[in-house]
């Protein structure tokens, strides 16, 4: 009997081109994604007189800098000269290097971490990279997916492989059954609050347990998306029938006899009984409640039923100092119930929470209610926009007075100009509440789409479960 192995170990072992005695392994990269921000890597590549070695294993999409309004005007809708240049530059770099490119007007355009799974480009057992830290998202389908900087991206473009050190493994078990109103976003915020924003540094996280298996593919993508917010090199979940059903028939998924061959390989991927992890952490999923962040680090998160903590009561000096700065920036006082926090505007979308299930969850809360603050929804991809409209969700949003926009990264990183004004308090379904992340001086509270929708109709942080009971 071969020794039991983890999901991660099986993928890692299958991708070793060569192993050096010093521990470095040259790892084959199955799928690499590029976006407008990849221009540094393409520029450096051209400067060295190199071209992309395996164009068919690379995919490009415009997402970070694209406008979410007036998209029918094409590039003219991009107000910022630098941003317009970058969007054009991506198209040109892809043309020169013969990489498939989903531009602003393409019917398959969307956020890179949404379209990868959606088009079936991301599959179980693959190594997936992108010059973006939220590449961890793709691990929800059972892939080893991680973000890189521009230099490593350049190496991948030039060689389709990367020298890497083998990371350690951390299994996060979430047992039990999730209560109604508790979503993938709440699960991952609870995990980050527990282990901290550096809790998984140097580790690949495998999320497991009944609460994780019970999540839909959308929910799993949300959990893996934020693995990086716990410091994880990657996040991953064992593939199962839900994954295979999700992938079947998608554009880049294997077809016919290849599908059968792929299934056989995929079914062998989940972690073997008895396989050892370097670390293990366990959470009781049944005890989880809807969560939100109160500070300026994703670990500064609490259940909606709680109060702003007193920094003096927090674990260590680093946490205390950070919380003091965070509360000053957020203009919040210890002891305030979270549900007393007024919200000025809201954003629903991003690679964390811009998928169909997220849009449906927001619509369920918004239906028959009215927005009392400015809010917009940006679907994770252009195909998802069409799907939501076919389901009539856009009508629900319009009736509630919420703006329904085109697809892009939008207000998550606010690179395209979709900013939150200084001092404004934002309910956001994105992944980072760092100072200035949604715009200089913006105050971000991260939460699930249903919780954000609840804030939209009440103008304050609201436990969405109270609105669900009223239905």
């Amino acid at each position: 009997m071969p020794a039991p192995r983890t999901l991660f170990a099986k993928i890692w072992d299958a991708h070793i081109i060569m192993q050096k005695p010093d521990g470095d392994a040259l790892i084959h990269i199955d799928r690499n994604f590029v976006h407008e921000g990849s221009f540094h890597a393409f520029g450096a590549l051209a400067k060295e007189g190199r071209k992309v070695r395996k164009p068919r294993q690379n995919f490009a999409v415009a997402d970070h800098y694209v406008p979410t309004v007036n998209r029918d005007q094409g590039l003219a809708a991009v107000e910022d000269d630098d941003a317009r240049h970058m969007i054009g530059l991506l198209e040109e770099n892809c043309r020169v290097n013969e990489i498939v490119h989903y531009g602003m007007a393409d019917s398959r355009q969307g956020i890179v971490h949404v379209i990868g799974p959606e088009l079936g480009i991301t599959q179980p057992g693959l190594t997936v990279t992108c010059g973006d830290s939220h590449t961890s998202t793709h691990g929800a389908l059972g892939a080893y997916a991680f973000g890189t900087g521009a230099s490593q991206l350049k190496q991948i473009l030039a060689t389709q492989c990367l020298w890497l050190k083998r990371p350690k493994t951390l299994r996060v078990m979430v047992n039990g059954k999730l209560a109604p109103g508790v979503t993938g976003k709440d699960v991952v915020l609870a995990i980050i609050a527990k282990i901290g924003t550096a809790g998984a540094t140097g580790h690949v996280i495998e999320f497991a347990g009944a609460a994780i298996s019970s999540l839909t593919i959308e929910g799993r993508l949300t959990v893996c998306n934020m693995a990086i917010e716990a410091g994880g090199r990657a996040g991953m979940i064992a593939p199962d029938d839900k994954v295979y059903e999700y992938l079947h028939g998608r554009e880049f998924a294997p077809k016919g006899t290849n599908w059968e061959a792929a299934l056989t390989q995929w079914r062998a991927l989940p972690t073997d009984d008895g396989a050892a992890f370097d670390r293990e952490v366990t959470l009781d999923g049944a005890a989880l409640e809807p969560m939100l962040t109160w500070g300026t680090s994703p670990e500064e998160a609490l259940p909606v039923t709680r109060c702003i903590p007193d920094p003096a009561t927090l674990g260590d000096a680093n946490k205390r100092d950070h919380a003091k700065l965070a509360l000053a920036y957020m203009d919040l006082k210890p002891g305030t119930p979270l549900t007393d926090i007024k919200i000025d505007r809201a954003f629903i979308g991003s690679c964390t929470n811009g998928r169909i299930e997220d849009l449906r969850a927001a619509a369920a809360v918004l239906k028959g209610r009215k927005a009392v603050i400015p809010a917009w929804i940006s679907p994770g991809s252009t195909p998802l926009k069409a799907q939501a409209e076919a389901e009539g969700l856009d009508r629900i949003f319009a009736d509630a007075g919420v703006e329904w926009r085109a697809s892009g990264c939008s207000s998550c990183a606010a690179m395209n100009g979709d900013k939150v004004p200084p001092g404004m308090r934002s309910a956001s379904t994105s992944n980072r509440n760092f100072e200035g992340r949604q715009g200089k001086g913006a105050r971000t509270h991260l939460m699930s789409p249903a919780m954000a929708a609840a804030a939209i109709v009440t103008g304050r942080v609201t436990d969405v479960r109270t609105l669900m009971q009223g239905k």
């Binding site: 299958a14 081109i17 060569m18 050096k20 010093d22 521990g23 470095d24 040259l26 084959h28 199955d30 921000g37 540094h40 068919r56 294993q57 910022d80 630098d82 240049h85 970058m86 599959q123 693959l126 010059g131 830290s133 890189t148 900087g149 521009a150 230099s151 490593q152 350049k154 190496q155 030039a158 060689t159 389709q160 492989c161 020298w163 050190k165 924003t197 550096a198 540094t201 140097g202 990086i228 410091g231 077809k255 290849n258 792929a262 390989q265 680090s297 680093n318 100092d321 950070h322 700065l325 990183a413 606010a414 690179m415 980072r432 760092f434 100072e435 200035g436 992340r437 200089k440 001086g441």
Partner: protein
């Protein structure tokens, strides 16, 4: 890549844990082209260095006189967490900072530093704390980093040994380019890919 061997430079105490890369370089500057003439130094810690009207914040450490020439930062834990943006490294390097000393680093940022000939030095929390105390007591004092010996010598001439992976050390010392190293292995890579894609033809 410029090799890194030793560095003796003014070190700035940077009192903060979890310094994320959004803080090191706000996102709006990432669209800027970077060249020898136009570096990323104006954007380093921009929203901490300047107030809303563009005026320098006098309390910010890198705006204070001895530290304007800082070549080393002594920071808190989890330095460079968050976004993968390599612009954070460009901003630090173009300002003149070639080494960060901290108890721990964000994984992606750590790799980005190494890729650009910057040295991330990992030292225990209490030693970083002690170094910052020394630097505050003697503003403008230098620290000496010796990569071959793997030591940081403080203002009292005490040498603190640090660990670094031998592979990273070798690449930094020689300023090696990874693409060149990879392409030397092209025959091995090609035979791997052939066998791999024979098993999974739908991935080729």
């Amino acid at each position: 890549m410029k090799p890194f061997t030793t560095l003796t430079a003014v070190a700035a105490p940077f009192e903060m844990a979890n310094v994320d890369t959004d803080r090191i370089i706000p996102v709006r500057f990432l669209r800027k082209l970077r060249s020898d003439k136009a570096g990323y130094d104006p954007y380093l810690f921009h929203d901490m260095r300047f107030d809303g009207s563009g005026k320098e914040n006098p309390d910010f450490v890198l705006n204070q006189m001895p530290y304007r020439k800082a070549g080393i930062l002594v920071a808190g834990a989890n330095f460079g967490c968050g976004s993968s943006r390599e612009g954070a490294v460009y901003a630090l390097l173009d300002w003149g900072i070639r080494a960060i000393i901290a108890p721990s680093f964000g994984d992606i940022h750590y790799a980005n530093e190494l890729q650009n000939g910057m040295l991330p030095v990992t030292l225990p929390e209490e030693i970083c704390h002690g170094l910052r105390d020394q630097l505050r007591a003697k503003p403008g004092a230098t620290l000496a980093i010796d990569l071959p010996a793997q030591t940081v010598t403080d203002t009292l001439s005490d040498a603190h040994p640090f660990m670094i992976d031998p592979v990273y050390k070798e690449r930094l010392l020689k300023g090696l380019d990874d693409i060149g190293l990879v392409l030397e292995q092209l025959p091995t890579i090609e035979s791997y890919e052939q066998a791999y894609h024979a098993r999974q033809p739908w991935l080729a």
